[in-house]
Amino acid sequence: MMRFPIWMRAGARVGGGRAALRALSLAVCAAGVAIAAQGAVVPLKAALAQVLLDRAFAQSVADGRPVRPWPWADMEPVARISVARLGVSDVVLSSGSGQAMAFGPTMLPPTTGGRADSGAVTVLAAHRDTHFTFVKDLRVGDEIVEEHVDGRVQRYRVVAFQTVRWDRFAVPGDPALPMLALATCYPFDSTAPGPLRRVAWAERVGSG
């Protein structure tokens, strides 16, 4: 017998139960697509935002002041970090909110202790499954370059890793060298939220 695509057979005489099952299946499929899309949009948004941010960052450096990546954005690019060995380059955003983190790594604001007045310690946070996936692959000795919107370029070297609860983290008040901390969720391959964070510590090795 001839086989037709299922939708062409829709008019065929079927039992009421079958119709219900079909309708239900359709609803489930739709829900599945919606959920999947919700998931899929995250990395897309993360990647797309970086393209726009890259542009905004270049503009910011040129203008010597932060430029918003899109008119309605509530944050602005402040720096770009790159790790040559891993081919990573991400534009860092000013606000430490979860909103901004969808688009790129964020610098924790000084009010929460993210950056001391002296600039001694900078804490950057990003999602483990988008921009900070690479933290997993960082090694002691890796060089991280931080370019600021004001044109300063600073180089850091990874010196240590730390696994810590989100509420048990502290930064040194007066370290010998300025430090950079990259924080993300841990364990890396888990998809469920958890209390642990992985922090990569880097020490300033030079500027320019």
């Binding site: 099952l21 489930v28 739709a30 919700q38 010196v159």
Partner: protein
């Protein structure tokens, strides 16, 4: 259409099932997420090493320089040691200095002298709080003062206050310790440095309960501390007390030099006098006397000093000494069990090897530990069973249960061992618990031996002893102290609690000799069920719980009684044969050290009762304090304090406090240890008081993969629904 009702029914069932699957799919992921959030992850301590030693690394020379001289006199089986520490103030400020240093864990400190110029101040023994108050009062009034405190039987801290600009103050302490005898060889060990200790985070939380209870309750949260638990201030103070700042490797050659002189008079002609870790000069100063000095004059205090010797003649089998002290008679007897008499074929054994691969083992220690374990694995026989457990702040059991020692399994264990790398903190308790799980408790005639390979660089010793006391049962615990400065207190007491024995392996070159000797001792049947009787006298003996005796290892017995007479008989069984040895107490020779050694050994008994839960904390503390005061010994409850009566610091001049940095023990890998820690200088709870600032880390996982997969799964279920509906129709068309 007779099938219709059935079909309909099936469809209904299918629809309900479909719905149920979708719902459960959505719900479980949500539930999982929340449960995971609550779960405390044991790796929370994580890659951070040595959380407790947050005192950091010192890269500049301290203002107060320290030089140490040790003068040792060995007479018979007792060593009397005078340790003189010179605190030289090189700054133009008035200084207070504090220095953490190790002594043998069976050493009894009984004397303190503070020397300032031509004047000598003699220390007095006081209860700890009282001594501290005296010291602090003198410090505040500008008077010179010295204080000796102890926080572990092998960890002491000297404090000296009001050292003027350019001035030098000497602090001299004296202690005595028994000489260890093993297989005809005598050994004197002088620890010179305290390895940085790992402070397990859970011990700092105020939920960490008194050790007597700890055995049962700590089990659940070993390895992690509840997130909101307030800090236990006493525990934090304790952790502070057993840790010190570390000197950067660049300072290693110029900091804390030590000179050592040993006057050796063992009572027989010494032969084969060797110092395995330092180059020494040996000079014959008499027919049965030798003087040993460091060849280099001074050495950095970064590894333990050990001196070994043998008797040129036949091995003396009994050493018997006595002393009259305060109207009481004290006796010390060291009784050597008979040479190993093989009794048939050795019994099959279950051996559990526990190897420490924490960060403190980095460098030579890890290599020595691995070599030792590989060596031990080759000596297993097919009838034995075995397991290997490794731990840092996590742990892995090679096998779920002990496996027969077949060639394949041993190969597997070797590969496992070779792959170990040193990193992370030292959470020994979970590994100990795992090792003590006895699957074959019912198997008769089977011997169960647990062999630990570790440097013991941790601060929660009490939890280990408590665990062994509570769950040791028929398992015997053997300790192999690895590295240049292992925690011998932990080694000895864990072995004692576990009725085993201990040894130290200082370097890779010693592995074969030491492991062969230890494994040989493990293989030969021990003397068990020891009993001591004195005919015609009553003696209060210590240790109270007599150990099992391993081949070549003597029983060191200390007793106190009203009169010295009669015969002392030690009896026991080897295999299933009875054994006994009798000595005549009247033949004891005089030694001025016996009474204090008795008291010190008795203190160890009290500690053991405390761990075993037979004694409350307060009662144990007060018993220790009484012993300390009666015999003039520094204990955890009593301190020695010396003070000048006249102020020397001018009114208005401020006093600067400095904690002197320690060298890292030789062979430790500074980078493996501190690569991690220098950066995060004090990221832990201890840092609370310091200038470090807490930062809350945001939630940093989108979990989009889960969402995506969930969506796809839902889509898949929907598609299945369609297929099911389609197939129904096909089936019907065909019919």
């Amino acid at each position: 259409m007779s099938t219709l009702p059935v079909t309909r029914q099936r469809l209904a069932v299918g629809a309900i099932a479909l719905l149920a699957i979708v719902l459960s799919c959505l719900m479980t992921s949500g539930l999982l997420a929340s449960s995971q959030e609550d779960a405390s992850d044991p790796s929370a301590g994580g890659a951070l090493m040595l959380r407790g030693t947050g005192k950091g690394v010192v890269a500049t020379m301290p203002a107060v320089r320290l030089g140490t001289d040790m003068d040792v006199t060995v007479s018979g089986q007792v060593a009397r040691v005078r340790v003189t520490q010179a605190f030289r103030n090189t700054s133009d400020k008035w200084m207070e200095a504090t220095y953490l240093y190790p002594l043998p864990d069976d050493g009894a400190v009984d004397s303190l002298k503070m020397v300032v110029g031509q004047r000598i101040f003699i220390g007095r023994i006081k209860r700890r709080e009282e001594a501290r108050a005296i010291y602090e009062k003198a410090r505040a009034e500008g008077r010179k003062a010295g204080l000796v405190e102890s926080d572990r039987p092998n960890l002491f801290r000297n404090n000296v206050a009001n050292v003027g600009p350019g001035e030098t103050v000497l602090i001299a302490i004296e202690y005595q310790a028994p000489v260890r005898q093993l297989g005809g060889e005598y050994a004197l060990r002088l620890p010179l440095v305290v390895g940085p200790r790992y402070v397990p985070p859970h011990t700092l939380a105020s939920t960490a309960v008194a050790p007597s209870v700890a055995a049962t309750t700590v089990a659940a949260e070993a390895g992690d501390m509840p997130s909101e638990a307030p800090l236990d201030l006493a525990a934090v103070a304790d952790a502070e007390a057993v840790t010190a700042p570390l000197a950067a490797p660049a300072l290693a050659d110029v900091l804390n030099p030590v000179s050592i002189t040993v006057h050796l008079a063992p009572g027989f002609v010494p032969a084969n006098v060797i110092s395995p870790y330092h180059r020494v000069n040996v000079v014959e100063t008499g027919p049965i006397e030798r003087t040993i000095t460091l060849a280099a004059g001074e050495e950095p205090a970064n590894r333990d000093f050990e001196l070994r010797w043998r008797s040129a003649g036949a091995d003396p089998t009994v050493g018997l000494f006595h002393q009259e002290f305060d109207g009481q008679r004290y006796v010390m007897a060291s009784i050597v069990p008979p040479a190993a008499a093989r009794i048939g074929k050795p019994q099959p054994r279950e051996m559990v090897f526990v190897i420490d691969n924490s960060g403190s083992m980095g460098g030579e220690s890890m290599d020595a530990a691995k070599q030792s374990l590989l060596h031990a694995l080759t000596t297993l026989r097919p009838e034995d069973s075995f397991n290997v457990i490794r731990f840092d702040d996590t742990m892995t059991k090679l096998f779920e249960h002990s496996m027969p020692a077949s060639a394949d399994q041993i190969d597997l264990a070797k590969r496992f061992t070779e792959g170990l790398e040193a990193a992370g903190g030292t959470e020994m308790l979970p590994a100990l618990k795992a090792a003590l799980v006895d699957d074959a408790a019912q198997t008769k005639g089977n011997v169960r031996q647990i062999v630990f390979l570790t440097d013991g660089s941790l601060s929660n010793e009490r939890e280990m002893m408590a665990e062994i006391a509570a769950n040791g049962r028929r398992s015997r615990v053997f300790m192999i102290g690895i590295g240049s400065a292992p925690n011998t207190f932990l080694m000895r007491r864990m072995a004692e609690a576990g009725r085993g024995t201990y040894t130290n392996i200082g370097s890779g070159g010693e592995v074969n000799a030491k492991m062969t000797a230890l494994l040989e001792r493990l293989k030969t049947p021990a003397v068990r069920d020891l009993a001591v009787t004195v005919e015609g006298g009553s003696f209060d003996f210590t240790p109270r719980v007599l150990p099992d005796l391993y081949a070549g290892e003597p029983l060191m017995l200390l007793g106190k009684g009203p009169a010295l007479s009669g015969k002392l008989t030690v009896s026991g069984t080897i295999g299933d044969k009875a054994w006994s040895r009798t000595v005549d107490l009247a033949k004891a020779s005089d030694s001025p050290a016996v009474a204090r050694l008795w008291a010190n050994r008795r203190i160890a008994d009290v500690e053991a009762q405390r761990w075993g839960g037979q004694m409350e904390d307060a009662a144990a503390d007060s018993a220790i304090a009484d012993l300390g005061l009666a015999y003039g010994l520094v204990t955890t409850q009593t301190s020695l304090v010396a003070e000048d009566e006249t102020p020397s610091r001018p009114v208005g001049a401020t006093l600067t406090r400095e904690e002197l940095p320690l060298l890292l023990p030789a062979g430790w890998d500074f980078d493996a240890l501190f690569g991690n820690n220098v950066a995060a200088a004090r990221p832990d709870a201890l840092a609370a008081a310091d200038q470090s600032r807490p930062v809350e880390l945001p939630k940093t996982g989108t979990g989009f993969m889960a969402t995506l997969l969930q969506g796809l799964a839902t889509l898949g279920v929907g598609a299945l629904g369609f297929v099911a509906a389609g197939r129904r129709r096909n089936g019907k068309a065909a019919a």
